[in-house]
Each structure stands twice: as structure tokens, then as C-alpha cells.
Symmetry: none
Amino acid sequence: MVLDGLGGLPHPETEKTELETAQTPNLNSLAKKGICGLVEPISPGLTPGSGPAHLALFGYDPFRFTIGRGVLEALGIDFSLQERDVAARGNFCTIDDEGVISDRRAGRISTEKCIELCQQLSQIKVNDIQLLVSPVKEHRFVIVFRGDNLCPELGDSDPQQVGLRPNQVVALAPEARETAALANEFIGKAKALLANSYPANMVLLRGFSQYPHFPAMSDVYKVKPAAIVTYPMYRGLAKLVGMEVVDSGDSIEEEFAALTRHYASHDFLFLHIKQTDTAGEDGDFLRKVQVIEEVDAALPQLLNLQPEVIVVTGDHSTPALLKAHSWHPVPFLLYSQWCRPDDVVEFSEPACAKGSLGRFPALEVMPLALANALKLTKFGA
Amino acid sequence: MVLDGLGGLPHPETEKTELETAQTPNLNSLAKKGICGLVEPISPGLTPGSGPAHLALFGYDPFRFTIGRGVLEALGIDFSLQERDVAARGNFCTIDDEGVISDRRAGRISTEKCIELCQQLSQIKVNDIQLLVSPVKEHRFVIVFRGDNLCPELGDSDPQQVGLRPNQVVALAPEARETAALANEFIGKAKALLANSYPANMVLLRGFSQYPHFPAMSDVYKVKPAAIVTYPMYRGLAKLVGMEVVDSGDSIEEEFAALTRHYASHDFLFLHIKQTDTAGEDGDFLRKVQVIEEVDAALPQLLNLQPEVIVVTGDHSTPALLKAHSWHPVPFLLYSQWCRPDDVVEFSEPACAKGSLGRFPALEVMPLALANALKLTKFGA
């Protein structure tokens, strides 16, 4: 069970974090029976995005298993990417009469405006390539190039700086020359089409990428995994590592019901709680506390299933005080019949810091969980 | 001092591990004066075999310094392998009229029967190669091919699965073709010879390997090492890293006497206590407790020698509750005049979990021990 952005920072008045503030009798009792520690999602001091942080929890080294920005953005809107598609992240931006970028986000136009402009861009024809332009939010969109022999080895048109002209898209490999030409042709036509749409009078593209092929968890770990997730990007991530994404509902209550419904047919279940992170990002300390308490109250439903191994942690910290993801290591607890309990009796940052697992990398979570399920064979004789 | 399989799991009634249950006043007082931690033998979650686990303690990365199954089995029976020998692990097995394996272990024939059949197999002649077939236990034996130009780069004949025919031994490198032919010729002749020895009517070979050449501890660490060990496989391992294996007796008492006897002539002594692991493998919680207490009672003999550095740990955990090696990290203590003691006052899993060394990889043990002996020079200026 991953509570997104679980880790927090102490409230200045109470000196307690969100997790310390929450009443969590069920999590505390599980911590008492289990072993605890603090997880470093990626590397100490690094603030992780949710993509790499989850990959690490599932045992995929995020420095090796990378996901392009375009693909990640497409996963985030549940866009069904095909094998040969090339996706890029797009920004509507503002350029001046000289073609120099004056605002990389076109004054953060409304999402409605973005939808309207994306419909216009979808009219553009470039050779026999299919162009799929989908709005995300405000100035952000996804563009997918669909056709034969496309290659994502392309530089960005987005210089990520105002005061410069957009870059020509360059091929970073010989086989990408044709795709580079197509991208530049699209950008030229978009510029013409948007000429009168100030402030959104130009587009910037970056992160050209294709759907990556990661080894499936069923092959790597010989498990039959299910994902109970409510947000598009996490659905996409779960599919990337070969999980079956089951019907999960929208609320925490519905997710726990889905867990019970799909428990018997799988032997690895990933239950993702998004609301902790959302409350943290909103800077809403109290709402994050309440979400944690709601999860704690639902925990007995999970315990009733009597899994051999239970892991409760977060993918990263999202302290309400920072209103953002942070680098702080994340509370972790593991329970199994064979875990050799430590003396932690409470699920919180300071208590986990004293757990027998210490501070440890997220990549160790899967081997530890599988070992506790007695699923790993001996190394050497 | 390595207590094999030292780490344990709490007894369901007392909630104390073997080491926590044992009365160990001498180890506790050493823990109080020293620093403690938990060692990860190979990698978190991995259950180690004794071979790689010891190599790691001696500072040899077990992923890099590998020992073939055939060689390891030969070490285990104190077989004196020569430089160019190729050793393989053998199983007597049962095949049906179609040549399909129906039992990979030939119903676990008695060791007496194994000895008798190995004598028969020793009669086989294959070209001018010497064939040495030695019984191990029950259905297990070691075969050593001795002659010129042998190469161990061979596939297994053992498919490690019933319902299949034994594999032809294939050469995995061009220079192994001749050895593959010799191995297949031996297997053919063994099959003919065993035709009437049902259930042991066929042999399976795996892990063809040659004695590996590891750097000697005397070269790597500039020490003069001695090993006090009572079991063949550990003698073999100690020799592999260049230790002098001294006459050690059989009992724990005799081992401590050997330690005293050989102390002055060496400056690194490896004292191996096997009985903790044996009791753990037998699921005999109480006997493991007693072995630990016997070692604790003998400890003053070691302390009287006043070594500059004392390390007490295990190669891995063997909880009596699991009756097998396990992945759990292992209690560790180091004492020296220069160790900067922590506040651990007891030698046990939960106490070591709070030691200032934390949870750390076995490969760090040798540098730490040498540093505490003031034997390492400064890195950089």
C-alpha cells in the first residue's frame, strides 16, 4: 500500500508531522508487529517525481528505466499510446514579432482555451502521418505522431528559456532525420495557425519519446500483479511494469473494496492512495491528516485478507509545509510472520527512523518483500 | 569469530531469538566495550549459501568471486583438487524405459549404496583421462576429470526437472568440445553400468568447474591468516582465500585451544563455529542457545590473548523456526581500543539493530577490522 507523498514535516505549532498528528491505531499496531525504517526513494537529497519513485518501489532502477517526458505526459491523460507512436510534451507559448519567446507558458491560458487550440492543431496535416493533439491543463498539451518509421531520437524545440527563439528540432540519430523534418513541419504550420491567438501564438515541444519496454513483474518476480489505482498516470505506470489495472472506483472506500474483490485472483496487489499527496501539494496539513486517518480506519479490511506480507509506505514525501514533493525519506513498515520485529510501536517518521531497517534504498523493498513471502531461493550453496 | 547461522527469529512463546535467550555475559560485556550493527551478508532479502557469505566477510565480493558447484562439492568432502581438474556435482537418478527422468535423486539411496556405486563408476575408462568418482551423501557424488587440456565451459546434463531426458553435455566454448565428448562418453558408460541398479540407474552431472584463483589475503591485506575450522567445506573456502588451515580438533573446546596454540604465529585468525548453524538447520532452538552459551563461556580464552581487534558475527542467519538459512541480517560486534563504542550493552539482534554501525554490507567488515588495527594508510593527502 503506497500512500502517495506520505512523508511530511512537523507543524510549527505542534512539532508533529501529518502522520504523527493522525490517529492511526491500526497502522501503529501493524508497526508493532512488523519492522520499520525510512525509505530513500531515489538517492539521498533527491526529490523524486512520482514516476521514478514508484518504479524504484517496484524494483526498477529509475536511473536505468527511464520514461520520456512525452510518454509520461501521455500516461497522465490516459492516452492509449501505441507501439510506434512518438509522443512529446507541448507548451503553448508567446513569441514576439522577432520570433523570440517572451512567455514559455502563454500567460497560463485557461484549460478551455487549451482544449480549443488543440482542436485547431489537430487539423494540421503533415505527409501521411496522423497527428493527435490532446489538451492536458492550462498551457500544456501532448502531441502524438502516429505512422511508419518514426524515431524519437530528437532534440527539443523548447529552449526552456525566454529571450531565445524556439530551436529547430534536430535528429540525434540518422534514422530520426525524417521524424525531425515532420516535427519541424508541424511546428511551422502550428505557428501559422496560431498567428492570431496571442498570447498563445506558438508551440514548444520537448521530451520526444516512445513507449518503453520494461520487463514485466510477472517475468522478473514470478508474481501475478494487480494495481488498484484511481489516477491516470499511476494506471500508466502500473501497466508499464506489467500489472493488471483493475476497476478501482474513485474513493479510498472503493479502492479497499476493489482490493477485497481482486485479492483471490492475484498474489501481488499494489494499492495506491493519491489523496495524501494532493492534500500535501495543496498545503492542507489537516486534510492530509484526515486522509491518513481514513486509510487507517479502512486498514482492517486489508488485514482481514491475511496477506503473507504487508508493506505500507509512500513513494516520496509531500510535506504540507512545502506544498510540494520533497527529498525527505519516507516511513516504511513491513509485516510478515517471518519479519523479525523491531521495537517500533508507532508508524511515524521519528519512530521509523529508529526501526531495524534503518534508512534504506527503495530498490531493496521488493527483494525484502519477496524474501518475507519465502519466495526467493538461496544464493550459492 | 564466525558463529555460522548466528542470526535467529523470536520463539513464539518467549518472543526472544536464540541469541537473546542465551546467557552471554562475556559477549554482552564485549558488546558494551565495542560497536555493534547488523550485517547484510550478500544483499538485502537474499538468503546466502555459506560459501558466498564467508567470501563476503573476508572482503571478496560474492557476485564477482564465484565458485562452481562441482568445486564447492569437492571442497565439501575435502577432495584435494588439482590445478587442471574439472569437477562436477553428480546425482544418481532414476530413468524409465524411455530414458525419461522419473526421480532426480533415485529415491535418496543410502550413503552405503552411493559408496558402492561410486566404486563401480570409478572402473570406467575414458581415453587417457583419469576419472575420480567420490561419494558425498545419499544420491550425491563428485566426479573429477583429471588430464591434459580439460575445459570446464560445459552445460549441465542435469535438466533439474523430472519428465525430461538428461541433456547431452554441450561445450559452451570451442575449447571445451573435447571435454564435452569425454563427459558424454562417461555418462553413456555409466548408464550401461547402472542398467540393473534401479532406482539408481542413471547419473546427472552439473556445475562443471575448475578450482578458481582468488587473490590471497596475504597479498590483499598483508596479513598472515590462519583458519580454525572443523568442517571440510570451510577448510576449502579458507584455502581458497589463502589462509593456512591449522589443526583445529573437532569440538568448540578444541577450537579455542587451537586458537591459543596458533595465535603467536599469525596476525589474522578466523575461528569458525559450525554448531550454531547445524542446530538451526535441525530446528533445535534450545541446542542453538546452548551452543551460543558454550561459545560465550569459552570467550575469555580468546580475550586473554588480547587481540587488537575482535569481530564476532555470523555468515548468515539460520533461525531454528525456519530450519534453514534465511535473509535476516546478522548481529555484529567489533571491539578494539579505537572503535568508538556505542551504547549497545547486549549482543542480540534487537540490540545490534540500534548499534552505531547500523545495517551494513558484509564487504565492509574487513576494511573496518583493518582500520581498527591501525593497518590502513590514509587515502589521498
